[in-house]
């Protein structure tokens, strides 16, 4: 983990309120595990005060370039979206523990299920898995076609499906509808998205093997402040994991959603 002023290489809006931001820096050399995130300071004043956690979406080690995708939501991401080529961004990372890559062998199949802004970390994951000879099926859920992004990029790596709540692209409904309708089979499930989606996945295939990446409001992002804890299934009431430093990726079933 490092703190570095990385340089903005490019920034563009690739879907409604969705920005693709590429930055360059030495810290990128450490970003080898998909599912990890970075913690970004979007200003040098105290407004906003806290850093913003953003997932690693893609990495090009050769050019030391990190790609992030984020949705412009509140103050922080709005400021981030104004950063221009050549500007510097204060980045802390990589943080947390990513998706395990050694659970599948060549020829086995991974199902990657992403919802909205949970999609980005799955892209780097898909690339890594593919390079290991693992079949990747991706299911991406969005509100509508206008909110969707990166589906072609996932399609380049394997079967890829899209669901939209309003039916304007792909299957109308949720990612779970796609999995059911297309009768998808897989050896391991990787997912990142809103908690309701993760819960629905857990209900759909209670015995599913795999990993979920969680989101929680963060203070420090490095495990020091206890802001981002979750209860542990079957643990004591005082047992916990920290999303920022124990996660954000956890084996399915380990953490109380």
């Amino acid at each position: 983990m490092k703190k570095e002023l990385v340089e903005v290489v490019s920034q563009k809006e690739i879907a409604r309120h969705i920005f693709e931001l590429k930055v360059q820096g030495n810290v990128v050399n450490e970003m080898t595990s998909p599912g990890q995130f970075v913690h970004i300071r979007v200003t040098d004043t105290f407004q906003p005060l806290l850093r913003r956690p953003i997932s690693i979406c893609d990495v090009d080690l050769e050019s030391r370039t990190l790609t992030m995708l984020y949705r412009k939501e509140g103050t922080g991401t709005a400021l981030l979206s104004q950063k221009k080529e050549g500007e510097k961004i204060d980045l802390l990372g990589p943080l947390g523990n990513g998706f395990p890559l050694d659970e599948l062998s060549q020829g086995q199949t991974a199902l990657l299920v992403g919802g909205g802004i949970g999609v980005p970390p799955l892209y780097y994951l898909a690339k890594k898995l593919c390079s290991q000879g693992i079949n990747v099926i991706s299911v991406l859920g969005f509100q509508s076609g206008d909110d969707g992004f990166y589906s072609e990029k996932f399609a380049e790596l394997g079967e890829a499906y899209v669901s939209t709540v309003d039916g304007s692209q792909g299957t109308k409904g949720f990612v779970t509808d796609v999995i059911k309708n297309k009768d998808l089979h897989y050896d391991l499930l990787y997912s990142c998205g809103p908690t309701v989606m993760l819960k629905a996945l857990e209900l759909q295939v209670p015995a599913a093997n795999g990993f979920f990446s969680l989101e929680e409001r963060m203070g420090c992002g490095i495990g020091a402040c206890f802001a981002c804890v979750c209860h542990v299934n079957g643990g004591l009431p005082s047992d916990y994991v920290k999303v920022c430093s124990d996660g954000p990726v956890f084996p399915i079933g380990e953490v109380v959603l």
Binding site: L49, C220, A224, C225
Partner: protein, 312 residues
């Protein structure tokens, strides 16, 4: 580096800077970032008798130049802390300020007795000001008599100096300080967080699951400065000042107000290297201010003293 040394009861510090309790965990995470031995001291997360999960999440919310937290004193319990957490810090040259909390006087005493007996603990910080728990915490911190009674009992069982951490959520902070001084406190830590709330326009409910939380960060700095200025003139025990410190200049401002040492809380989240950075910037700042030793600044805003005309 002698010019940064400060000495408080039980605390011989290389420099006046320590991370504030709750913003530094038990040191492990920051130890991965820098050598903890550069710190003047470190205040560790509050310890209670039993292990606590704390409040439901979300536990943090952002505010203008500040943040709210409602962690709720999550910690693994005093025994675990002594067995599992403190040993990790042993390899550092780092005085430890052990923050202690509880729901009853008995709880506090139990934790105080245990913690103060630990050879690595330099002093206790009696947290009577946590706004995020239903019992204990702030209720001890808003009534002078209750605070004094608790201080007396904790002092009786503690083998190390006791600093009482005051809550800013009171009408008369000097009265609180005087009460705990009379009860035997060796020092005062101030300020803890201001009670605050934010409401989410979408859900129309408070953002924090606990509804209210403690406001910290630069937003509260003027309140901290005011209270330290007042208390440092009302008592003769030293003050560990905190509340929004985020740069070397802030440290000077706190010391001029009357603090003898300064804790950095929320700013660690903004920049995890803030403590070592401040420490390394202080000598140059003293140079610029024409101050030969940082001690000279303590209470400088109210003590009659010469201000070198160069720095006017």
């Amino acid at each position: 580096m002698k010019r940064l040394e400060v000495s408080l009861p039980g605390l011989k510090m290389k420099n006046p800077i320590m991370p504030a309790s709750g913003c530094f965990g038990f040191g492990r995470e920051y130890a991965g970032l820098y050598d903890l031995s550069v710190l003047g001291a470190a205040a560790i997360k509050a310890a209670t008798v039993e292990a606590r999960f704390g409040n439901p999440t979300p536990r943090v919310a952002e505010t203008h130049s500040g943040m709210l937290n409602a962690i709720g004193l999550q910690n693994p319990g005093v025994d675990q802390i002594m067995e599992k957490e403190l040993p990790f810090l042993k390899s550092y040259d780092l005085p430890i300020v052990a923050n202690i909390a509880g729901s009853t006087e008995e709880d506090y005493c139990e934790v105080a007795e245990k913690m103060s007996s630990h050879p690595q603990v330099s002093v206790l910080e009696l947290n009577i000001s946590c706004p995020n728990v239903k019992e204990g915490g702030i209720q001890f911190g808003t009534d002078a008599r209750t605070a004094a009674a608790l201080t007396k009992r904790v002092k009786a069982v503690s083998s190390k100096p006791v600093y009482v951490k005051l809550s800013p959520n009171v009408a008369n902070i000097a009265e609180m300080a005087i009460a705990v001084e009379e009860a035997g406190a060796d020092g005062i830590s101030m300020i803890n967080t201001l009670l605050g709330m934010r409401i989410d326009l979408k859900t129309r409910k408070p953002i924090l699951a606990n509804k209210t939380g403690g406001l910290s960060g630069p937003a509260i700095k003027p309140v901290a400065i005011r209270m330290i200025h007042e208390v440092s003139q009302a008592v003769s025990i030293p003050i560990i000042g905190m509340g929004g410190v985020s740069c070397a200049e802030d440290v000077i401002e706190f010391m001029l107000a009357g603090a003898s040492a300064v804790a950095v809380g929320t700013a660690n989240f903004v920049d995890p290297f803030i403590c070592p950075d401040i420490i390394s910037q202080l000598p140059e700042l003293l140079e610029k201010m024409n101050v030969s030793h940082i001690r000279e600044l303590i209470g400088g805003s109210w003590r009659e003293c010469e201000v070198p005309s160069l720095s006017r």
